[in-house]
Amino acid sequence: MPAKTKYALTPGAATREAFGKALVELGRTNPDVVALDADLSKSTYTAGFAKEFPDRFIECGIAEANMIAIASGMASAGKIPFAASFSVFALNKGFEQMRVTAAYPHVNLKVVGTHSGISIGEDGPSQMSVEDLSLACSLPGFTVISPADETAMMALVKLAAEHFGPVFIRAGRPKVARIYDASGEAGQQFKIGQSIELLEGSDVTLIATGLMVAESIRAAETLEAEGISARVIDFHTVKPLDREAIARAARETGAMVVSEEHLADGGLGVRVAQVVAETHPVPMEFVGIQNTYAESGTPEQLLDKYGLLARDVAAAARRVVQRKR
């Protein structure tokens, strides 16, 4: 679908909830799909799958490393396993298992990390996954997906099941704005590895993933009122990167802001910067968490305190447009 010049954001569901819905739908159409969880099925929303397909759901208890390797074993024997936990546990406790049992033998494992970023809120930093994109992207052969809303998650979970190879899918805890409408047409535009240009723009490009996509759309509206034309691109796939879209955006807009609910050291921003440096160097700014861990608070308070709102994207855009001159 062509990029628009205006975007209407409406209230939407949490991406973790959309994952749970997509998983049930997959279960109905593909008997090889199985799910694993580590005592968080009510939070990751694998509970729906467990209820409808109890034989195809493996409750692993609080043992994420074991869960990831069991899932790899099931994948090696022909199943399509979705192993879910909070992202912070799946990636940090299961990283070696993702590396040795899935990445380098190229096993058809799907890991789903919910409650990513700092928007988990009150639970605090031990539960906050701010390194997951960086870790997952470091694994050769892994596909890394970070949907921005419900429609994106529904579409991308199904594509992940069809894709042979290890995949990490990042989901969030809070309800997020709906960007894509719920029609089948909106879902059909998704392709793994192909970014989606949401707003046309010529002065600066705002690249974002996850809940920062909606913030970037809001930032573009603010910037438009100031006479700055911002292109907004949803990078729902963080790896492999849509290099062509990055190079074109750099060439056509001459400045770029990359935003993610993740440490700015690592993740989407540095990966996009690498492509910009290799193709068409332009000034860049990065919106992310700055070399620190967050704290307890409401999601809104935390996104405000740690600089992950439309306001912060817009400020970065103004700075980077200044640097063009």
């Binding site: 034989d55 074991n66 390797a69 074993g73 099931m74 090696s76 022909g78 033998p105």
Partner: protein, 273 residues
């Protein structure tokens, strides 16, 4: 391949496999002879007698699965797989060389007939459990056999997998502990003792069989008993001798991870003649 249950024939094959493994490690100039020799009867008995497998159809979906979780002892596995016809015998001496299908630790990218890439210790039992769960869902006969090192089971994930396999009542999974008492830094009892090991596995809900791991008939009987055990997984504690069959390697921690010299190799081959 010709399968056999004949103990004399299996013993003869095992001796040849030991020779091949020693030659491979010597040629490579590095590797792990001690644990290859201690696991020799276990691997040979499984591949030539127990496993339901077909080297002409290595991806047969209902095959039994074999995972060498103690991946560093792959020379004995490569020797046996080549003897079965999975992979070329004439390339065995390329072990650990650039581009060889016989990588330093088992790697499915180079040798797709392997069930898993291993080498980082502690992962194999979970993989075997996953394969057994998949087989159960498929309603097939496939069983998974996982060879664990004794030092390896100091890894916590082994016990996560042990707890889960028993809780899930997985009875098509067999763990074989190559209990040779030695790990890289010395004797297991001095590094981090596992005892009382049989009680630990029992406490985790497993059926436990203790056997002398160089007694082929005892291993056959243990694998048979494991197959008829219902509702829980089986652990075979195979009491073995590190470096078994070569006098100067037996019970010698040095040969956990040191290749023999050419002279040592010649002497070893004489002893295994």
């Amino acid at each position: 391949m010709q399968k056999t249950s004949d103990v004399v024939q299996l013993a003869a094959i095992t001796k040849r496999m030991r020779r091949t493994a020693i030659e491979m490690i010597t040629e490579a100039g590095s590797g792990h002879p001690g644990g290859s020799l201690s696991a020799a009867e276990i691997v040979t008995t499984l591949f030539f007698d127990v496993l339901r497998h077909d080297p002409d159809n290595p991806k047969w979906p209902d095959r039994d699965r074999f995972i060498l979780s103690k991946g560093h002892c792959c020379p004995i596995l490569y020797a046996v797989m080549a003897e079965c016809g999975y992979c070329p015998k004439d390339k065995l001496m390329t072990l650990r060389k650039l581009g060889s299908i016989y990588q330093g630790h088992p790697d499915v990218r180079f040798l797709p007939a392997l069930e898993a890439s291993t080498g980082s210790l502690g992962l194999g039992l979970s993989l075997g459990l996953g394969m057994s769960l998949a087989a159960r869902l498929n309603g097939g006969k496939s069983r998974s056999y996982v060879v664990l090192g004794d030092g390896e089971i100091q890894e916590g994930q082994i016990w996560e997998a042990a707890m889960a396999a028993a809780f899930l009542r997985v009875d098509n999974l067999v763990a074989i502990v190559d209990y040779n008492q030695i790990q890289l830094d010395g004797f297991v009892k001095d590094i981090l003792s596992l005892e009382p090991l049989a009680d630990k596995w029992r406490g985790f809900g497993w059926h436990v069989i203790e056997a002398y791991g160089h007694d082929i008939a005892a291993l056959q009987s243990a694998f048979g008993e494991a197959s008829s055990e219902k509702g829980r997984p089986t652990c075979i504690l195979a009491h073995t001798v590190k470096g078994k069959g070569v006098s100067f390697m037996e019970n010698n921690p040095k040969f956990h991870g040191t290749a023999p010299t050419r002279e040592e190799c010649a002497k070893a081959l004489q002893e295994l003649a």
